[in-house]
Symmetry: C2
Subunit: 471 residues, 2 copies
Amino acid sequence: MDSKLKFDFNNMMSQYVGEKDGFTVHDLEKLDVLADEAAKAFSAIRGQGMTEWSILPEPKCELVSEIKQTAKEIRNDCDAFVVLGIGGSALGPYALFQALSHLRHNELPRSRRKAPKFYVEDNVDPERMQALLDVLNLEKTIFNVITKSGSTSETMSQFIIIYDLLKKTFGPNAAEHIIATTDADNGSLIQIAKEEGLTTFLIPKGVGGRFSIISPVGLLPAAVLGIDISAFLSGARYMDTICKRSNSIYQNPALAAAVLQYDSFTNRGKNISVMMPYADGLKTMADWYCQLWGESLGKAVNKAGEKVACGQTPVKALGVTDQHSQIQLYVEGPKDKVVTFIAVEKYKTQITIPGGYDDMPAISFLSGHTLNELISSELLATEYALTKNGVLNNKIVLSSLTAESMGQLVMFFMLQTAYAGELLKIDAYNQPGVEEGKNATYALLGRPGYDAKAQEINSWPKKNSRYILGT
Amino acid sequence: MDSKLKFDFNNMMSQYVGEKDGFTVHDLEKLDVLADEAAKAFSAIRGQGMTEWSILPEPKCELVSEIKQTAKEIRNDCDAFVVLGIGGSALGPYALFQALSHLRHNELPRSRRKAPKFYVEDNVDPERMQALLDVLNLEKTIFNVITKSGSTSETMSQFIIIYDLLKKTFGPNAAEHIIATTDADNGSLIQIAKEEGLTTFLIPKGVGGRFSIISPVGLLPAAVLGIDISAFLSGARYMDTICKRSNSIYQNPALAAAVLQYDSFTNRGKNISVMMPYADGLKTMADWYCQLWGESLGKAVNKAGEKVACGQTPVKALGVTDQHSQIQLYVEGPKDKVVTFIAVEKYKTQITIPGGYDDMPAISFLSGHTLNELISSELLATEYALTKNGVLNNKIVLSSLTAESMGQLVMFFMLQTAYAGELLKIDAYNQPGVEEGKNATYALLGRPGYDAKAQEINSWPKKNSRYILGT
């Protein structure tokens, strides 16, 4: 593999970041033992239950061919491709789109775009849905409805609205505008797909939404955009291979990253994990990470049923943009966070800052430099400022934003999360905490069978008008 | 004022959220005393120094007329309006754009848009700048370069590149494509503006970037988009009036919000403030809040020079989207956050979910409901789930997204921040923590006068290859 993801944790070490929070060589030695245990615990469950995401499709398997074939037809025939999904079903496709397509893709002329316009609709705000309908040419649009459970209220609401519209517009041909990505057996979507004869891709049983980027959830939309999904899968396999071959934090980058965050959270009071890429293309990838990290590790109890209430709160920041928003806080505020930078060694273009302002020292030094140098220098400067001020930080370095490097990156994050789950001894693959809200929504909307919950909500103390101001 | 912002803090009270973290009536009484002091402290500095943002322009003053006149010409003549700015100079305009324009504005036909396409370029990623240049028709484009200091490296780099391009393309007419928004005296931009004869709007001395939304920084781009800036100013004035007339948390909503966050941070271990609007239009407004809150309150020392290292870390979440990303963590993870919801009572459109799936109970209950009911029910359900699980939360309620309600909202946030600054006894208007990174950038780019800093960076211990994995 030509381009290799690097993980640099020098600035977590006491030698750089200071004694107070920094890790010593001795700390690392102790953590290496914990890491070994966690890696072994993950090996023991790898590929089973909800860790089926770790069994990666071969870059040239039948599924990949089938996805590429479907994508090719869509690329030729369609003006717009719309993902209807929420959570991992939206963030995975959107992250790959933003990282690997032109940053103004939808505004390019068709000849330059070479792919349909691309939309990811991950909310039920009625204004948002109306805005989408205002710009679509339905005749040339494919909707990819994605839900693992097949019953996600938001996604299925969108689907019902859209499918109704399509049926009213195209009659029996409506089904040609929908592709379903869902579970083989469970949920309403697979049932509808069978009844209506929808083109369908299956999400493997043991792949949860936040781990589904390397499944048809992420792969089909990526292929529609012209992203080389075989290279993406090769990148992921490469990272998996690297990490599989060692249980030591000195060899396994995802394991090192996991154990450093784990110890920062557990023993050093760092309850915030900031993900700060220095590339606009990685903004949504940071959102994808935030779901993966937050939803996997934010758990009330561990596997033994003991109360733990663990989980760092992930925060997205964008370099250099958020230097002008959040760095003041990171430098001077509480030492409650670990910042992970993502550096890009080579951007796809280079732009030079011209001269002509020699008499203005506040800006003349910029001239002759490239924006590439500016953004890279600002990253180094920010690392330096944080480290000097005792803020734990580390860095993922990508050679450039390619399908291959994105495969490496998502696999790095998924393995890091899996290892962190074992370190915390929690189930990283469930999400019991969302049930209360789901059930309350069902009750509020009058779903049969939720009367008890409705009654419980109604018996909640009435709001006190004294605590509502501005009326 | 017909539509009034409401602030509802019932779910901060122990009666609802539980004894452990909830506020009692007795707590409120004590806090009301603190609040009174803070409000008085703010009154004492109001309008002076860097609090000039609290002196709002009259909705019908000369400045507003001038902005409207310029905006009208741009609306008639131009295809694209590009803001070059970073931090508050970008987030303010972008927040108003997203809240008050069509959510797919740039993709609408000109006839429907009634305003130029709109871009906010707040990063120096070369791929981002190239992507912008790929879709612009320069001849019909106006660039609004915004920097208070007049020397912000990122913004001035963008400006230098663009102005060079404009000069090469349009010769002496290049200046017609630029509007400068900056300080009257300081910095390179005002000097260039005078030399080149650029149309210029001034940012008042005592208005910092993150408070500049109610100044030409926010007002000109908003007016170009056709937003009623007089109504926006009226909304802000209304909120200011409401808050000015009482120093009690039972009357002054921004003060109540400030003191609750203050005590949550200081005495209840809540170092995270989540801002979670239930409207796609408010996504960037949440980013704007994150800068305001983070940069204003994240301070190493208080006014007395004592070390405090204070400041909540603001986090943006979007309802309902992030229910499928972050709510698991919020419900089950550490009790380290306060969640502030923003509700919208009336969306601009209504979409009904059709029927036809009677045999599928997991989705049939949705039919006949509107997306409006779904999103509102999900907000109530999420409030309920968090409250039941002991997570402190409160809610800002807007009648709808209008220029007026946005005026109220931004003023609410600015006053809340100002009060919080007085409660923490810190200077909410400076940002000394960004200097280290700025200086390091200058040094790395070889700016004259920064040799000592360059030497300091060079003498930093070399990185240890043992801590760089994946090579």
